[in-house]
Subunit: 335 residues, 2 copies
DNA sequence: ATGAAAGCGCTAACAG
DNA sequence: CTGTTAGCGCTTTCAT
């Protein structure tokens, strides 16, 4: 292993000078600069990160908390974060919690013992208590999901408005009996989308019928979506449209409808949420709400780095969603 | 920040004793042990990793190279790796290369400058040259995909045998005109599955017809799958079954068939590969080949850690695949 | 503009 | 069984 001392000897200067060249701080004469650079390339020298970090007490490492990577929803958010981090010379580490509290805590330890400078969370519950205490001590930015009534920076879309818009769209198609599939999880998005749905119904002068609302499990699993939709569709006066708070649930809805003999969007219109890649692989292709995921990730990283470097928290940022209309929605069938 | 010296002072012992307690090596009297542990909890002391790593020259960090996380195929492999790594007290870092050579090289740097002890690659091309030179210097294990004729450890399934089995199954259903959708990428799995397909056809006494073979783009994208399948199905004497080397391509096949008026598996049987979660969300549910992904990840990590700790390379390991029969395959329609 | 030297927090060899 | 001490490789005063 080549050390800074080797380079200094090779260049005929002191380690201090080499260090100054490496970090481009302090004054260095052109002659010395040249000699040092020569020595560095000749020896193929790489500064040792442990020595540097021990000395500087900084890690230049960002943590990204995701519940799972089996959900393609997270891919482009992570890309956005990583691209921004790299351009600012930070490394990133994906912390896959798998919904396991212990694992989550172990990852938090990395923040406390200085292995990471800050974290972006993609999966905090609306009432998460732990994140509050963590965020008091280290820089945190929440992306997509966030904790209510907490002074922690976050970036997300306006889930309430998006859900309202879905209802407005469905109503414009002539639907008056509209169902809703939520989730029993504690994500703020789930709650806001439900509130937005209910507000949208009221604005449209439509009744919010308890029997048209059902909930999938916390992971939006396909199976639980099927079960929830079945529950609703087996009511005798069934809805003609269903708004699901995730695309996978929407796929479940279409499957459940099919198995009950309701095929095609004229029999049952379905709207999803998130616009994951698979939304266009389905038949029919899913009408859904798209979030600017890459941009959200990038902005989160920007905010986190600012917080790390300046200490100032960034507050809340809301980005624009978009309703993407495809084949899974249609006007109400006559008769 | 609390240091080992603080603990030593608090406990009334030397730093050496504290270190011995921390690392459970060297002899320590019960009395001293007690005092030290008390001090540690009282001060809430966390050893500084940079100091430790600088001293020990080990990182206890494993790299995992994946091309993307938007493909759920990788999720359980990564879980397998992470679980094994954690149980052996290693940390892991997901290196998402996005097919970018530069990014890949930057991640390799982490191995060279000691930030990581070894790596597991999930996406090496069959003819990748770079990995050979890297593997000469640092511990590497390849998972699923690997480099041909290289002395680098790997774990995978027998892709050739799996493809043969698919053909045998299709033939047993009465299919004689069987198409194949491969990929233009350079993965060994793509090549082996094609070779296995052709061997299977020959064994069954069936002709391998050039016009029944087409290729999707390197990422197995849905759209390119549709295009490839269309190409084949528009031949006048079209095949009655198609074997696709990935599930996403199989989804594309079903979509393409549908758009040409061929609906249902009696009109066109389709077999996929990988058994990703979405394979059961489709209608029809996909017949596919399942790889023991979690086990493969776990084994890869075991092998890598052994290589790191003992220096001995582990050679090649093959695990069992499984043909999972669902609804997308059926006997040939009469007439 | 440059170099000597202190010290970041830790481990381990050595002496007791 | 315990303590003293010499570094690991680096950055950064403080002299010069």
């Amino acid at each position: 292993m080549i050390t800074i001392a080797d380079v200094a000897k090779e260049a005929g200067v002191s380690v201090a000078t080499v260090s100054r060249v490496l970090n481009k701080n302090g004054p260095v004469s052109p002659a010395a600069l040249e000699k040092v650079n020569l020595a560095i390339t000749k020896l193929n020298y790489q500064p040792n990160v442990w020595g540097r970090r021990l000395r500087r007490k900084e890690s230049r490492m960002l943590l990204i908390f995701v519940p799972t990577i089996s959900n393609p929803f997270y891919a482009s958010i992570v890309s956005g974060i990583e691209d921004e981090a790299r351009s600012r010379k930070y490394e990133t580490m994906l912390c896959i919690t798998n919904g396991d509290q212990n694992r989550e805590r172990e990852f938090f330890e990395l923040l406390f013992d200085g292995q990471a400078d800050g974290a972006i969370t993609l999966c905090t519950d609306r009432n998460d208590q732990e994140i509050r205490t963590v965020a008091e001590k280290v820089p945190i930015v929440q992306c997509c999901e966030f904790c209510e009534n907490a002074e922690i920076a976050h970036v997300s879309i306006d889930n309430f408005a998006a859900a309202e818009q879905v209802v407005r769209y469905l109503h414009s198609l002539g639907h008056t009996k509209i169902g809703f599939i939520g989730s029993v999880n504690q994500f703020i998005s789930s709650g806001e989308r439900q509130r937005g749905f209910e507000a949208g119904m009221r604005e449209a002068g439509l009744p919010v019928r308890k029997e048209y609302i059902a909930f999938a499990d916390r992971d939006y699993s396909f199976g639980s979506g099927i079960a929830a939709v079945r529950e609703i569709l087996q009511k005798e006066d069934r809805p003609t449209a269903i708004f699901c708070i995730s695309d996978v649930l929407a796929m479940g809805a279409i499957r459940a409808a099919g198995s009950l003999g309701l095929t095609g969007s004229r029999e049952l219109s379905v709207v999803g949420f998130d616009n994951v890649e698979y939304a266009t692989m389905m038949n029919p292709m899913l009408t859904t709400v798209s979030q600017p995921r890459y941009a959200m990730g990038k902005l989160s990283a920007e905010m986190l780095i600012r917080q790390i470097e300046t200490g100032e928290k960034s507050g809340s940022m809301y980005l624009e969603h978009k309703l993407v209309i495809r084949d899974s929605t249609a006007g109400v069938a006559l008769g």
